[in-house]
Symmetry: C2
Subunit: 243 residues, 2 copies
């Protein structure tokens, strides 16, 4: 079973204070790029895998989705998500993505933001999601970029000229990584980009677009403290179609 760090009080408290938890989609700098990879949601049946506080679910309902099912393993997050909407199109369900079986052909879009890198067996989930989508159905997701998950010990160093450089090692050795992000002992699964693409194609998806996301030069102008984030991408965004 995947670690459910989100229900640990210390992590939940720290996570709740992040800009993306306070400001929702507008607090997630990669959101405009991810949004542009989405299909038209009017009348669509939407599945959100790892919905957290439900920001995307509420946004999808606002775009005219006919139904939105938000799945999360965190009881605390779903409690808050439920209090923040009365949209009849939205349903929340507590489930572990490692075992959750969505209704066959029950959805038009499967969406997931920054959840897949927690899963030990992502291929198994993708196979279940593929069954839940018709041919032509869409999958749009973000994960931590493999350059973020690879290092055994995350951190910056300096190159020979003194410029900030991200220290990369362990890239080709996939598997669990334990970091102290917001709380001690958070376990994420490192996979290469090649493996993400293989998992998609082996489970019935054709990649439509891949983005290695870092802040744009314009975003850095507005937030000079993000400059170092252009040295290496933080997120990997993928859009795929069920084939």
């Amino acid at each position: 079973m995947t670690q459910n760090i989100y229900d640990s009080p210390a992590f939940f408290s720290a996570y709740s204070a992040l800009p993306r938890s306070v400001h929702g989609l507008d607090g997630a700098p990669e959101w405009p790029t991810l949004q542009a990879m989405l299909p038209d949601l009017a009348g669509a049946r939407v599945l959100d895998l790892g919905c957290g506080f439900g920001w995307f679910c509420r946004w999808a309902a606002g775009q005219g989705a006919s139904s939105v099912l938000g799945i999360d393993v965190s009881e605390r997050m779903l409690e808050r998500a439920s209090t923040e909407t009365d949209a009849v199109a939205i349903t929340y369900e507590r489930a572990d993505l490692e075992g959750f079986v969505p209704e066959p052909a029950g959805f038009d879009l499967a969406y997931s933001s920054l959840a897949f890198h927690y899963l030990v067996d992502l291929g198994d989930l993708l196979a279940r999601v593929a069954v839940a989508l018709p041919i032509g159905g869409r999958l749009v997701c973000s994960v931590e970029h493999p350059l973020m998950t690879a290092p055994v010990l995350q951190g910056w160093s300096r190159d020979g000229a003194g410029r900030a450089a991200w220290s990369v090692n362990g890239y080709l050795d996939e598997g669990p990584r334990t970091t102290d992000w917001l709380a001690k002992g958070v376990v994420k699964q490192h996979r290469t980009i090649a493996t993400y693409l293989d998992l998609l194609s082996r489970n019935g998806f054709a990649l439509q677009r891949l983005v290695e996301w870092g802040p744009s030069p314009e975003q850095v102008l507005a937030h000079p403290e993000w400059a170092r984030e252009r040295e290496r991408p933080a997120f990997l965004l993928m859009a795929a179609q069920r084939v």
Copy 2:
């Protein structure tokens, strides 16, 4: 025009001494993986973009290719390539890949080993190559991995625990990088993986497989001096189909 470093005497001399120049395909540790991405060559019309000393051209002819056209900008390399074969199926032609126009629908496979990262306008070449292939025709190529081309100053450092780490910066800023590989002032073009995939799909190719290549654990056992090469991939291998 792309820099033709291969005809500079110092570079040519150093390049000629590399294991892959002395031992050919068997001296290129990524070759078994790249080979496995190739279609059956019996009766195929093969185009080798950046053929160098012609090792792949001779191998392709040996696999029963009906014709093999090797293109390279280096006069010195083609001179040596020509002396090393009398196979009637093989033709060598000196041309700059930035302008070379292959015969429309004239080939079944376009192959390129470690040449595309020198090209300023790779999209333009891919468009010309797409025209040279029938629907279903194949493109198999290798480039330096973006983790190799990104850093402004290539090199290793140590992470916080003293383990070797590859210093990555400049990843999101594409464009020329000048390195001192074998000779001073070698210019390569840095592109992200996302950009390679975009260039393929925009120019009529569907990706079939992508490999981020580093030596396998078995290869490291046989060559312990390669251990560090598993910290980050050195090459990006791609197989695509004309659609």
